[in-house]
Subunit: 186 residues, 2 copies
Amino acid sequence: MTPLVPVRNTSSIGYSPGMVYAIVGEMKKLLGQLDTWLESAASFAKAKSFDPNVFVGLRLAPDQFAFARQVQSACDTAKFAASRLTGKDAPTNPDTEQTLDELRARVRSVIAYLDGFSAADFQSSATRIVSQPRWEGKVMTGADYFVEHAVPNFFFHLTHAYAILRHNGVNIGKRDYLGPLSLRTP
Amino acid sequence: MTPLVPVRNTSSIGYSPGMVYAIVGEMKKLLGQLDTWLESAASFAKAKSFDPNVFVGLRLAPDQFAFARQVQSACDTAKFAASRLTGKDAPTNPDTEQTLDELRARVRSVIAYLDGFSAADFQSSATRIVSQPRWEGKVMTGADYFVEHAVPNFFFHLTHAYAILRHNGVNIGKRDYLGPLSLRTP
């Protein structure tokens, strides 16, 4: 079969700072869910009488990030999305977490950081210039960066953290992933 | 530690039909990436002289969806998001795929379906009422459904499909996940 993938440019379509804020809010919510998975992992270790911090080094493939790095990456993707799209400084995290409790503290620190943003902070985010050392001098617009980089990367690392726990027997399920939904009575 | 997760209502914040269209476009792009992972899985099986369709039944935990179902679920989440948010009928897929080629055809059919939408189709999506049998009569607004359900579910199943292949040795990496980025010269 022939390749499919076109490069898209999203910035001209219908970028909305308020919607970016809403999706950053969803990231924040799901980091709260991640905090509950970490709690379930600790409970599972306790019930099975093994060191809960074994989880920190588990991975799905030898050349993939271990659990701790997946958690750190999910945290950083959300943190840097908010920082880069608003121009506000992000706190530094040295990635030294060695225990589930330290990972929970990391997750909670990012949630607290994200709590400090309002929709107005994202007002000029579409046209901000974002770059990273690995892009070798190239840049992305804020709009492209959010849709093509921040969103898919956040969920990539979050879901890998979930999958590593699930693969190793932790009793979590889809509802623990999604968290409470804004269901209404019709 | 005390629980963190609040229920959020996103619909009032800054929903944008154009941005929903852009993110559905990103889903379409990443389904194109999934098509390339399926190709890599087939190549890996050929190089190792095993039946490529073994992948269809692999899973990370005995009570998680197998690979085929993860692919089908990623496809359906994107398909139903577009359908439910625009009021356009979605094609029926009986979930009978048994081979990597059939899964590739499924992925490509959803990409073709998503190709049929324009930003204007999503104009009144924020206030559409969305429901599912499992919600037992409850509903979500289109805005809440997109941010809290469609987006996280799409990436959940897409990333699980990726992780199952990666866990089983297929030679794919982060660039194959993200696909080409809209990088620019400053």
